[in-house]
Amino acid sequence: MHEAASFITSFFKFKLLTRMTETGKDIPDKTEVQEEEEVPRDKTRLSDICADIIVSEVMSKEMTMVKETESIENIMELMTKTPYHSYPVVNPNGELVGVIDENNILELLFFERSNRHHHTHLMAIKALSEEASTLMVHHPMIIDPDATLCEAADLMIKHHIDRLCVVKDKKLEGVVSKSDLIRKIYELRG
C-alpha cells in the first residue's frame, strides 16, 4: 500500500515535469491508445478534477438494498439475480443499519464445516440468523455525499475497502465502489 502511494506520487511528479516541458497538449488523441499508455496522462488535471468531483456525482443511486427483516433465503435469491457482492441493509426509515455480503452468507452456509476456532459465541449467534438484521455487519464504512472523489479513493486504497455506503443524516443515498471511480475517471479521460 505504501509502495503504491509513493509510486503514485512519483508518477504525479513525472507528469508535472512532462507537462512543464511539453507545450500544453491537454487533450490526448483518442486514437493513439498505445501512446497514451507510454506517455502518462496529465496529472495536474486528474488530481484537480478528483478534488472537484463529489461522491454524490459518482455513486450508484439505484443500488439494490435489503430490508432489515429480509429473510436470508430471499437475500440469497437476490444474490443470484444481481451482480453485486454486497448489499446495504436499511431500516423502514431508509436509514443504513448494516451491510451484508457474500462472505456473511457463505460463513453462514458453511458454518458447520468451518474450523473449530470459528465456532465462537458470536458466530454461533449469527449462524442462527434468519434475517438480515442478525447476520449483517453492523458497522459498514460510510462516506458523506459531499466528500470528494479523492477522499473516497484514499479510503479504498489505504484500507482495502471495495465499496462505501454513501450516507447523509443516517439515510442511505447510494453506494460508491472501486469500479464507479474507475469508470468516472475513464469517462473524464474521454
Binding site: 465462537t120 459465541h121 454461533a124 449467534i125 442462527l128
Partner: protein, 394 residues
Amino acid sequence: MEAILQIMVVLLLARILSEVSERAGLPGITGEIAAGFLFALAFRPDNIETFTFMGELGAIFLLFTAGYREVHVKDLKAASINALIPTFFQIFFAFTFGFMLGNMYGFSFLESLFMAVAFSPTSISVVVKTLIDTDYLSSKPGSLMLTSAIFDDIIGLFLLTVVISVVTFQHLPSVIDLLRIGGNIMAFAIVMAIMGWKVFPALFGQIQKMHTKEALFSFVILIALFCAYMAEAFGLHAVIGAFFGGVLISDLPIAKIEAVQKKVSGIAYGFFTPLFFAFIGLSVEIEILYTASTFAVLVIVLALTGKLIGGFIGTKLVGYSSKDSLIFGIGMMPRAGVELVVIAIGKELGIISNELFSAIVLMVIVSIIVSPILLEMSIRYKERGLKVPEQPTV
C-alpha cells in the same frame, strides 16, 4: 537472551500442543496450558519475569479481543427476559457453591469471594461444536445457551471488578468503603462512556487520514492499552478496562475494517493469548494437587454441578422440559477464558493460594474435556426418549 529463548520455546510448544489438542477434538487452549506446564516441568526456569509480563499482556489482549470482536451491544439489548432467569440461576448457584466451598475450607473472605467469581462465567464456545454436530444449535436449549452466555462474561467481569475493588481494603468493607468503590466504578464507567460516545469516534475520524505506517492498527492497540491503564487508575484491573475498550470501538466502522481486525486477531491469538494460557499452565504446581486431591475434586465437582443445578432449576422455572433443562445446565458447564483471567489476577494480587489456583486450572481443563461429552450424552438421552411415540417430556 534467556527471555527470548523462553518465549520462543513456549510459543512453539503452545502451537504444537494446541494443534495436537485440536486434532484430538479439544479446544486449542488445553494444548496451550499444557505447553506452559510441560515447559515448567522440563526446564524449571527460575527467572520468568519477561514471561510473566507477556502473560499479563496476554490477559489484556484476550479480553480486549473478546470485547472488540465478540461482543455485540445490540445482542445484549435483544436478549429476551426469558433468558435472564436461567442466567441468574446458573451464575448464582455457581457463585454460591464457590463461596461455600471456600468457607468450608476456612479460606479468608476474599479468597472465597475470588473462588466464587472464578466459578461464575461460562465459555460457551467450548460446546458450540457439539451443538452443531448434534444439530442442537437452533434448538430451544441451544439458543437459550447462546443468549445466556451473552450475559455471562459481562456479569463475570462485573463481579471481578467489585471483588478487586474490595481487595484493596483487606477487611470487610464498611458502608463508606462500599460507597467509594461504587463511586470509582461509576466514575470509570462515565469516563469510558464519554470516550466511546464522543472521543473515540472523533479520534478515529482523524486517524484514518494519517499517513504513518499502520496508524490505524497502532491506535486500536493504543486504545486497548489506554483503557487498561485507565481502569487501573480508577482502582480496577487492567483487563476490565481492556475489555470495555474493545466493546467501545467494536461498533466503529473504521476501527473494525477487515484489514485491522485481522491484524488484531493475529497479534492476539498468534502471540499474546497463547503466552497467557501457557503462563497459566506454568503456574500450576502439580505437587500441590497431590496433597490436596480431595479439595481439587471438590472444586471440580462443585464448579460443574453449580452450573448444572442452577441452570436446570432456572430453565425449569421458565417452563422448559426436564431434559431440555438438563441439556442447558450441562451446556453452561465449560469454563475457559475469563475464569483463568480471574484466578491469574487473584494470584497476582496474592489472594489466591497456589493450591486453589492449581485446582481451578484443573477444573477448567476437566470442564473443557467433560462438558462436550456430557452434552452429547444428554442430547442422545433426550433423542432416545423422543423415539418412543407420545412420550411426554415433562
